[in-house]
């Protein structure tokens, strides 16, 4: 048996995986506003905030708070570490699938 690659537990949860996928799909250096991300994910603000906090704690997320026409807006984007973690995660997934594919 080959060693099974470990999947990053911060990313390997349905909601956070969707958040990470969406942010990784942005061009590097781009930031997305919180409500827009919420729309793309179809998640409640509270639910999304909870997951964003976990991603931020892991150092994957960069949160910028700013004002647009006096309204506070939060912009989100992956850190370099976050982008790397997502790439590693998808690579690990592929390795796992390639390993189990023979047994089907």
């Amino acid at each position: 048996m080959t060693t099974v690659p470990e999947l990053d537990p911060v990313i390997h949860a349905q909601a956070r995986l969707r958040v990470m996928t969406s942010l990784a799909a942005l061009a590097e250096g781009d930031r997305i506003a919180f409500p827009r991300l919420q729309q793309v994910l179809d998640m409640t603000a509270g639910n999304l905030s909870t997951h964003l906090r976990k991603l931020e704690d892991a150092g994957y997320l960069e949160i910028t708070k700013t004002h647009e026409r006096r309204t506070p807006v939060t912009y989100l984007g992956l850190t370099r570490q976050g982008r790397r973690a997502f790439e590693d995660y998808t690579a690990a997934l592929r390795t796992l699938l390639a390993g189990s594919g023979n047994g089907q």
Binding site: V4, E6, L7, Q14, A25, V40, Y75
Partner: protein, 213 residues
């Protein structure tokens, strides 16, 4: 040393499917709908230039004024479709891509602004151009701008479809001038509009493939 990932109910297959699904969704939400864009411009060129050709040949009692207005209305519609798509897709996203988008948008405005000045300058010349020369140069100048901006956009976003369309437009443009009036209109309608519609068709197939039912 427990495998924490294994205790999750999310299998590797499911994860990968989830990633693909979300990627598709982000693509649809954050990128302009290419099918709508190319479709709108393709129809505008096809029907618009065909109308002008028909009016020139005196078919179906179509006057040049009506054909011109029809073409103008079609171009304005395509422009509105484009603006709505671009604004909608760029909403809530800022950073590198907004800057690139702004520079790209300006290249259209500057290109057509310059062409407008060239046309105005030519018209001021003693005698100006003959009607036939205008009929050839008017569309040809506009298509030169369109083709070149498509080459630029294709290169910048590494979008081969867009780049190929740019090459096709330039080739169509060159041929149209040698077709003479009113043959040039027919070339622009069929080859020009057709090129856009082919791109739209290609993107339709891509979207179907990207979105599992």
């Amino acid at each position: 040393m427990t495998e924490r990932a294994d205790t999750s109910d999310l299998s590797a297959e499911k994860s990968l499917a989830l990633i693909e699904e979300q990627r598709g969704r982000v693509g649809r939400d954050l990128e302009p709908n290419a099918v709508l864009l190319f479709g709108a411009w393709g129809l505008a060129w096809l029907i618009g230039f065909a109308g002008i050709y028909a009016a020139d040949r005196g078919w179906a009692g179509l006057s040049e004024l009506v054909a011109g207005l029809l073409f103008f209305a079609l171009l304005m519609t395509a422009l509105v479709v484009t603006a709505v798509q671009v604004v909608r897709s760029a909403r809530g996203v800022r950073g590198v891509s907004s800057e690139i988008g702004a520079m790209y948008g300006w290249s259209w405005l500057l290109g057509f602004g310059c062409l407008f000045a060239i046309n105005a300058g030519l018209a001021r010349q003693d005698g100006g151009l003959t009607d036939e020369q205008w009929a050839l140069f008017g569309p040809a100048g506009a298509l030169l701008v369109v083709g070149l901006v498509y080459l630029g956009g294709g290169a910048m976003w590494r979008d081969r479809v867009q780049y190929r369309l740019g090459v096709w437009i330039l080739a169509t443009d060159a041929v149209s001038v040698f077709a003479g009036v009113p043959g040039n209109y027919l070339v622009l309608a069929l080859a020009g509009g057709g090129g856009f519609l082919a791109a739209a068709a290609w993107f339709t197939v891509q979207r179907r493939r990207a979105v599992p039912a």
